[in-house]
Each structure stands twice: as C-alpha cells, then as structure tokens.
C-alpha cells in the first residue's frame, strides 16, 4: 500500500475542519476554531461524503496501513511465540495468560499508557495495536500446531525429517488454516480499535470521529462521525474478504473441504 499523508486541515471545502480540534483524549480545548463554517445549513450525509471523498479515502488508507502494519508485526511475534511455546506446558500457559490480559485492558487506557514511554503519534499506536492483536494469533498458532495429528508427525520423523523441516513442511502447513483464522480475527479487532489511536494522535479514520465528538452539535459533526464509522466498517469488510481469498489461496487443496 502506498503511504499517503492526509492533510490535517483541508483548506478548502465547505466543511473543511477546524485545526487542532483534536489534541488528546479530551478532544481539544474549547473552540479554537478558525474559519469554521458554522453557518452552513445541514447537508445530507451523501453530499458530505462525496465532498470529502478524497480526504476520507486518504484516511481509510492510513487506517488500513496502521492496521496491517500492526498485524504484520503481531504475526511475526505471535507465530514466533506460538512456535516457541506450543510443546511446553508452562510457557504456553504464561504466553496465553499475558496476551489475554493485553486484550482486556480498555483501549483508551492502553493508548494513554503509551504516552509516557513513547509519546504521541504512530509509533505508540502501533505498539498498542500489536498488543491487542497478539492473543488470537498466538492462541490459534498454538491450537493449530497442537491439533496436528501425532501420527503424521511421527511418520515424518520416522522418514528422517529433522525438527526444522518437520515444522516447516508438515506442522505449519497443516496448522496454517487455523493460524490464518486467528490473523483474521486480530485484523477485525484492530480495524475497530485503531480508531481509538486518534486519541494519541495516531493516524486513520479515528481522527474524524474524535474531531466530530469534539464538535457535537455543529451541523457537520454527525456526518463526519458517521462517514468515519462507515469507512471503518467498509475497511473491515474489505479486509475480511481479502483474508478469505488469501486463506484459500495459501491452503493446500488436500486440506480444503
């Protein structure tokens, strides 16, 4: 995906947003708005969307980027942790417990907790999102690997396949459909949670939601929030379809129904 920085303050457009509406969880201080169009009469939602479509598309790409970046990192970490722990009881339980705890931390709080060590912006947002994405990926990796028929592993070993080859050629491919399902769940979770990243100045459609929240009551606030939510839902659906296709293409025909 191509990186595209969305202009924070589109200068033109009837509904160009006020600068600095959004700085931190409080959703900006009191009306520092310059050049807002408070006087504009309500327009329909679709008029709003078509007027803002370039900017919305840009936000959506940003949103997808932060989600996919976080998922990619979580896959490397999660599958790695799964591989390291699936055969030993205690480390396995520990990893599942810890990643489970991550998922229970309220998102607003977790993003807030990122500020002291990492500051604001994309980096802390990605770290928080990776934490949320870990559990489904780790758990499915472990479940998938442990679900491989021991007879198959034994026959591989009996034919002279060493540990590494067995893992790469036999166990991972057999566990793969379940691992992909875990990655898919993580992605779905992140598409929603990534919106909250806006509270620490993270990228994506969340920015519009928080801007709108800060301006509740103004004519465009509702449209702005709805458009961002719609964008998130559409992105979720698109990614889900992508995963179905990827899952199918990367799963052996011998394993499909």
């Amino acid at each position: 995906m191509v990186a595209s920085r969305v202009q924070e303050h589109p200068g033109e457009g009837r509904y160009g947003q006020a600068r600095a509406m959004l700085r931190g969880p409080a959703g900006a201080g009191p009306g520092s708005s310059r050049g807002g169009h408070a006087g504009v009469v309500a327009v329909t939602f679709w008029e709003y969307v078509s007027d803002q479509q370039d900017r919305l598309r840009g936000l959506m790409v940003e949103h997808a980027q932060i989600v996919l970046t976080s998922v990619a990192i979580a896959v490397v970490l999660g599958v790695g942790l799964g591989l390291l722990t699936y055969r030993t009881d205690r480390p396995r339980h520990a990893v599942l417990a810890i990643t489970g705890v991550f998922l229970t931390i309220p998102s607003l709080a977790l993003f807030g907790l990122m500020i002291p060590p990492l500051g604001l912006g994309t980096k802390p947002a990605v770290v928080a999102l990776v934490m949320y994405a870990l559990l489904p990926i780790v758990r499915n990796t472990i479940t998938g690997l442990r679900g491989v028929d021991p007879a198959i592993v034994e026959s591989a070993q009996g034919m002279g396949m060493g540990r590494g080859r067995r893992l790469l050629r036999i166990e991972l491919p057999l566990a793969w459909p379940i691992i992909v399902a875990g990655i898919r769940v993580s992605t779905q979770i992140l598409v929603g949670i990534a919106a909250i990243a806006a509270v620490i100045n993270g990228p994506g459609l969340g920015k519009d939601i928080f801007r709108a929240l800060a301006r509740v009551g103004t004519p465009t606030a509702l449209n702005q929030a709805l458009a961002a939510v719609l964008g998130i839902v559409i992105l979720g659906l698109l990614l889900d379809v992508a995963y179905l296709v990827i899952g199918r293409l990367t799963t052996s025909r011998g394993l499909r129904d």
Binding site: D149, S155, Q157, G160, M161, G254
Partner: protein, 391 residues
C-alpha cells in the same frame, strides 16, 4: 542383517525397564514379526531400530554397521517406515508424499517422477490417476498401499511396519496382506512387523518373536514351530486354542490338490452346455471367457432360458482366490459362497480349478493328525525321562 545386542530401554521414574537386554538376529529378506500382548514393549523394541526411541543401552547393527551412534535422521531415510494410521501428509499429493525421502536425499526431478510411477504401479495403483490426488480422496486400502509405496521410495533394504493393517476392515485387510506377501516375494526386504494379532503373525511371518512383558522373547521361531512346539505355557496360551486350525494360515492353496468343476468356454451351444452339466455331479457350471477367465456361474435354469445370453446369465464368478491365498482366507470365503467352492486363478486371472470343503477338511485332518502325533511323541518322551529318572 539386523542384529540387536543387549538392547534395553529404561524410562526415568519407572522401576521396570520397558525393554530389558534383548539379543536378536533378524535374517536378510525375511519378515520377522514382533507379537505379544499390549504393553509388552514390542513397539518400543521396533522403534529402537530406527531410533525413534533411543535405547538406554546395547547396540544395534544394520548390515554390520553400528547404527546407535549415526545421525538418526540420516539413518531413518535408509529405513522404510509404515505405521498403523499410515500418516500420509494430507496437504501433499500422493506423488509428493512418495517423493518425501527422495527429495531429502537430493534426487533429481526426473528420477523422482519415474520412481513415483514405478512405485504406484508396484502397489497396484494407476499412476496417472493417483499421483495428483490428495490422501483424503483415497479409500483406507488405497492409503495403506500409498503408505507402503512411500516407505519403499528409496528402495531401503529394511522396513519397519507397526500394525500396518490394523486400521483396515477385515476383508480389505486379507486382500492387502496377500498383496503385500506377493510384493515381498518380489522385493525381498528385511522387514520387522509389529502386531498384536497372532493370526496375522502366523500368516505374514517368516519368523515370529513372541514377546512377554519387558519385551522378553518367549519364543523366536518359524510360525510352524511356534504352532507345533510352543516353548512354554505363555506361548501356548498366547497362540490360543485351536492351534491346529490356525495352521490353515500356514497352508496355501498351492499346497493342496485342486478339485474339478465343470466348465465351458463362452459361445458353446446351449444343448451341449446342458449335457455337460447333466453329466457332472454339480448343480451349476462355470462359464469361462475366451482367455480362460471365469465369467459366470450358471444353473440348468439359466441355461434353459433363451432371453439372456449365457455370458450374462446366472451369477458373478465369486469367490476367487490366487494360489498364494491361505486356506484360512479360502475357507472364510467358501463359507460365504453359494456354491461351496472357491475358484482358483493364476496371476492373469486364468482359471485353474476349485477348492472345496472336502479339500480343506482333508487339510485340517492332516494338521490334526500331525498335532496328535506330536503330542504322542511328547508323551512317550516324557514317560521315558520319568522312567530313567532315579526314584
């Protein structure tokens, strides 16, 4: 060929060793069966040969080489391995499954392809149809054959088989056992075969090691000797009642005289067919095709009706066995057949004759007589020793 010297296996925390100090010689080109009650350590003993289980002490030689210190993965690539669940890789095609070991040994693609076709034909599967299929598209029997083909991929001199026919229905199992014996007559591998089924052991083994707890060898002998001269009460118990009947598993169709059955070649005039049937003492007659293969069983009524050609009248020509079938299998088939006879054919399906109850009964009588003579000889021997013993 394979020699075990003082091989033991102890698991930490267990008082009794799973296997204790075993010495065993397995001759080249033979099927040696490890048989015994469950938990006797037979599988442990077998798995120490390819070091899936590392022996605690003792040495194992294959073709004179001490394999207890070589790289276990390299060793296993030289030993065919078939397990009960077969363990085909479900995400790979049949061809890729068979190619597993050749690929690890770095064979080139052309050689691997040729070998896959060769092996599939060897185990009786059409290479074109099967090499692109996945395991789930195969029946249990077909998977078992692929398992054997995969184990034979690099033509290893030694094969280990852990209850290879255990998970297959009895009828298919009989057929696969017979096929495997025919295959073995061709390939002459040194095979270690584990089973808990004494009948299978008697049928498949050139030699049987009967194991008791701790993998102690109670008797290591040919099936015939184990049946006729069990070493002790444990072996006698394990072989069970009806040891003489079990010898039906040792006798094969080629060992008994075949009986006559009236036959005609397809195309013979109906009146003549009828007269041949009338002159025989049988109620039905066998129609053979132009290549001498059994085609139909027909009765006088089938011959009489003109509306169906003779080659479609009557019943399927069943049951059919080949000459290497055991009398046990033959008797089982006979009990299910409506004619009281089993057709015997050669490898090309050509009709040779039949086996009937009288033949099998005679064989059983012979075995009973042999067993009785043996018991009498023992009685004489024992009474002589008693007489000689000082009072």
């Amino acid at each position: 060929m394979i020699r075990l010297e003082g091989v033991s296996k102890r698991y930490p925390g267990q008082e009794k060793p799973a296997v204790e100090h075993i010495d065993l010689d397995i001759p080249e080109g033979e099927i040696v069966i490890f048989v015994g009650p469950s938990g006797c350590g037979k599988t442990t003993l077998m798995k120490m040969i390819n070091r899936l289980i590392e022996p605690t002490s003792g040495r194992i030689f294959i073709q004179g080489e001490d394999v207890t210190s070589v790289n276990p993965d390299q060793l296993r690539r030289r030993i065919g391995y078939v397990i009960q669940q077969i363990g085909l890789f479900p995400h790979m095609t049949i061809g890729d499954n068979i190619a597993t070991v050749p690929k690890m040994l770095g064979w080139d693609k052309g050689r691997i392809d040729t070998r896959i076709d060769e092996l599939l034909e060897l185990v009786g599967l059409d290479a074109k149809t099967f090499r692109k299929r996945y395991p789930k598209q195969l029946s249990g029997g077909q998977r078992q054959r692929v398992g054997v083909a995969r184990a034979l991929a690099v033509d290893p001199p030694v094969m280990l088989m852990d209850e290879p026919f255990g998970a297959i229905d009895p009828i298919t199992r009989d057929r696969l056992q017979n096929e495997f014996l025919r295959l073995q007559a061709e390939i002459r591998k040194t095979i270690v075969f584990v089973t808990h089924d004494i009948d299978e052991a008697i049928k498949m083994g050139d030699r049987i090691a009967i194991l008791r707890e701790g993998a102690q060898i109670a008797q290591y002998d040919t099936p015939r000797r184990i049946l006729s001269a069990p070493a002790d009460a444990f072996v006698a118990d394990f072989v069970g009642a009806g040891a003489s009947l079990k010898r039906l598993n040792l006798s094969r169709v080629r060992d008994v005289p075949l009986s006559f059955w009236p036959t005609v070649v397809v195309g013979t005039d109906r009146a003549e067919v009828l007269s041949i049937l009338r002159q025989s003492d049988k109620g039905s007659l066998l129609i053979l095709d132009a290549e001498n293969r059994p085609l139909r069983w027909v009765t006088a009524r089938d011959i009489d009706r003109d509306d169906i050609p003779l080659e479609e009248a009557g019943l399927e020509p069943e049951p059919i066995v080949e000459r290497q079938a055991t009398l046990q299998d033959t008797l089982n088939l006979m009990l299910d057949s409506s004619h009281g006879a089993v057709l015997v054919v050669d490898a090309d399906g050509g009709y040779l004759g039949t086996v009937d109850f009288a033949t099998v009964a005679q064989a059983i009588q012979g075995m009973r007589r042999e067993a009785r003579d043996q018991l009498r000889a023992e009685a004489v021997e024992l009474s002589e020793t008693r007489d000689l013993a000082p009072p």
